[in-house]
Amino acid sequence: MSDQATQPATPSRLAKAWDSDFMYNFRHSPVAMVSFFVVALLVLGAIFAPLIAPYDPFDPASLDLMNGYTAPMAPNDFTGDVFWLGTDDQGRDVFSTILYGMRISLFVGFAAVAFAMVLGITLGLIAGYVGGWTETIIMRAADVQLTFPAILVAMLIFGVAKGITPIEHQDTMAIWVLIIAIGLSDWVQFARVVRGATLVEKDKEYVQAARMIGRGKGIIMLRHILPNVLSPVLVIATISLALAIIAEATLSFLGVGAPPTQPSLGTLIRIGQDFLFSGEWWIILFPSITLLALALSVNLLGDWLRDALNPRLQK
């Protein structure tokens, strides 16, 4: 007989996780499950885009202009090629372009949120724990930034960055500039929440104990306070992700984001917008649906996460 059979009382970690309140909650929320499924599907599609996509829309040399404006599932008038979701004005396969475009949208979204999170948590922890002038300066800066709409801040940063980068690097820099622009416009949420939670935690006994045994400020913040303020941060991160994806789409839609030769979902929607009257509905419809599905499911997932992690809302 194996060991496992003799010790049925101690389940594996996975099984433990599966039985936790968190997972129980998840298994009993259809919205959460559907959202998670959609997000997972889209993220996997984006990650494995080079394997799934029939064409590489980012390689200009592979495009055939004659394939432009092909309707979904119908052969092209000139070349006879068939595309699942049709092609755009430059002859790019819409399905492949959506997959690749989603990579940019998701990458920018995740990276911007990660950047905002690191910045926000650091400043929030310092503000909350150190207090005094440091706190005043950080939090007033945050207040000032909150008075501007995030998209305006992002556009400002994008504009300045575009002005100072040499023109030959602009295409390659555009994505990183987007990340920084969106990240910088979004750190305030994290900083405020972390500061609030830090103020609550910093006088608790375990922190006092740590201070008594002489641990440094940095260690206390990182090792003791940080783990205890993370759960609200996770919720904000999820909602921020949806916002960051939309912010990226908005910037690209306005023509200040991803370069036209490397379209993200927002760029695709902008391209499609020109053909609203002329009957090429597929150029705008499919990228829009994808963006909608992505943003909505991430948002719903964030909502569910907020409920699940908030003990006060537990049934």
Partner: protein
């Protein structure tokens, strides 16, 4: 009362309510005029707006024919072949009431010859302008200039007194970012007065009740509201919803939709405008590429290869939806000097292009930035994007930088671009205009739009000589020789000749002018 006068009186009575009714024409196009200063920018939409307010001595009507405007007759002087004499129209007043006379013409022409003027190339052959009496002007050229009047069709007349009073004697330095009174205000003799102007937002013009042409032109439009709408879909939506009556640039993809809508119509005509790419061909290293020490485009084989990589038929069929004519030379078919053999010389040959690139030592290609306007020509940015894909097939990695025309054109004048898109219309209908601006070495009097850095002194001499060559057969021979050099050197990469699509509501009636300039005084309102 005779029968005839009764009839006239009745006709007048019937006509009265029609005349009294204010016929407002709401006009939209993609781009606004860059400035109101008539000599600062020689650019289509800029002079199109100026034409409503100001007038030249002679102009082209909606069919492209030369007709009298502020000059009633003109001709070479009987005594001296180097002199053109213009008789001015009498009794004309500017919008502010000032009288128009030869002093104003003298002032305006001299103003257009100053350094900041964008019209100086057109007057490069002028030695002196003289006012011999109140209504006679003599233009003396260095040698006879057979096409002098052709050069004056966009040369607007300003009031000397108004310019002096408003500190507008000097032409606005547009590229230098200067702003002047004349850049925002205008005082002309034209059929319409400038009522209000917000650049890029809205410009309102009202009929000039003291216009000299009252009774001579239909003048059925009494008020013009001009709104630039850059976004193609928004422009079409405005047309479909009845928000505007007349748009000058129906997007090619929406022609069917607009034409098929009740109460709207699209009229199409070939335009006197060719679209092409310009290339920096100086040998010095350029900043916008990834090749060190030399400019790859200084090699004519590279330029030829880049031209061979462009599939003009695909651009016509897909990007332009059939609304263009592929070009092999940068002269529209309307122009003296155009010939079919050169215009059909562009052939797509990707393998041949690759071979040329290898021969030139760029088998792996190179990277370069393409500057492109996005609100000037029909589908300008989409053409550039298509070119990115086509050039990639021969290894030229193009980084596309598309900007509104107000930011794009200064790149050319300031030589800050190495690879750019430009379109050229030819108001004089003669090749000399193209050579003066685009082929001659860039300098004080000539070559202001030549951003190719191309410079050939022998050719410059020949171009300058065109202005005074009176033997037309010999002149055409010289034009042909210059074109041969331009073609052999692949100075430019021609793309196509544009086709105009004017959309109008059913109450508007006009023919399509080949120079894309709507003269509203000719418009009929139903």
């Amino acid at each position: 009362m005779t029968f005839k006068s009764t009839l006239l009186a009745t006709a007048a009575l019937v006509a009265m309510p029609l005349m009294a009714q204010a016929d407002t024409l709401r006009w939209a196009r993609a781009g606004d005029a860059l400035t109101m200063d008539p000599h600062a920018q020689n650019e289509g939409p800029t002079s199109a707006l100026a034409h409503q307010i100001m007038e030249p001595l002679v102009m082209r009507d909606m069919t492209g024919a030369m007709v009298p405007a502020l000059a009633t007759e003109w001709g070479p002087s009987a005594d001296n072949p180097n002199i053109w004499v213009f008789k001015l129209r009498e009794g004309v007043t500017f919008h502010d009431g000032a009288e128009f006379d030869s002093e104003d013409v003298l002032f305006s022409l001299n103003r257009a010859m100053t350094e900041d003027s964008d019209y100086k190339e057109l007057l490069a052959s002028v030695k002196e302008v003289r006012a011999t009496d109140k209504y006679t002007i003599e233009i003396e050229t260095n040698g006879p200039n057979p096409i002098m009047p052709n050069n004056l069709t966009n040369m607007f007349m300003m009031d000397k007194g108004w310019a002096e009073a408003n500190n507008a004697v000097k032409v606005q330095d547009y590229e230098g970012g200067e702003d002047t009174f004349a850049a925002k205000n205008a005082n002309g003799t034209g059929a319409y007065k400038l009522v209000s102007r917000e650049p890029d937002v809205k410009t309102v013009l009202a009929a000039n009740e003291n216009y000299w042409g009252n009774g001579e032109f239909p003048l059925e439009v009494t008020e013009i509201v001009f709104t630039p709408i850059q976004n193609a879909a928004t422009r079409v939506a405005a047309m479909l919803s009845g928000e505007v009556d007349f748009i000058q640039d129906v997007p090619v993809q929406d022609i069917g939709r607009v034409d098929g809508t009740d109460g709207l119509e699209v009229r199409t005509a070939p335009q006197n405008r060719v679209i092409f790419f310009g290339l920096n061909q100086a040998a010095e290293d350029i900043a916008g590429d990834d090749v060190d020490g030399i400019n790859p485009m200084s090699d004519v084989r590279v330029r030829k290869a880049m031209s061979m990589a462009i599939d003009r038929d695909a651009i016509k069929k897909v990007v332009m939806r059939g609304q263009s004519a592929p070009a092999g030379m940068i002269a529209p078919p309307f122009v003296n000097g155009w010939n079919e053999a050169m215009d059909s010389s562009s052939k797509t040959d990707v393998d041949g292009a690759k071979a040329l690139m290898t021969e030139a030592g760029y088998a792996d290609g190179f990277a370069i930035t393409l500057n492109c306007p996005n609100d000037r020509y029909i589908n300008d940015e989409k053409i550039c994007q298509a070119a990115v894909g086509m050039l990639a097939k021969i290894g030229v990695k193009v980084n596309l930088d598309a900007k509104p025309k107000a930011q794009h054109f200064p790149l050319l004048s300031n030589l800050e671009t190495d690879f750019y898109m430009l379109g050229w219309g030819v108001p004089t209908y003669d090749s000399e205009y193209i050579f003066n601006f685009l082929t001659h070495t860039k300098g004080e009097k000539y070559g202001s739009w030549n951003a190719t850095r191309f410079s050939d002194t022998d050719l410059d001499v020949k171009i300058e000589a065109l202005a005074s060559e009176t033997d037309l057969a010999k002149r055409n021979q010289m034009i042909n020789e210059i074109w041969t050099v331009v073609q052999d050197q692949q100075l430019y990469i021609p793309i196509h000749h544009q086709v105009l699509n004017w959309g109008m509501a059913s109450n508007v009636d006009t023919i399509v002018a080949p120079d894309d300039t709507a003269h509203f005084k000719y418009f009929k309102m139903k």
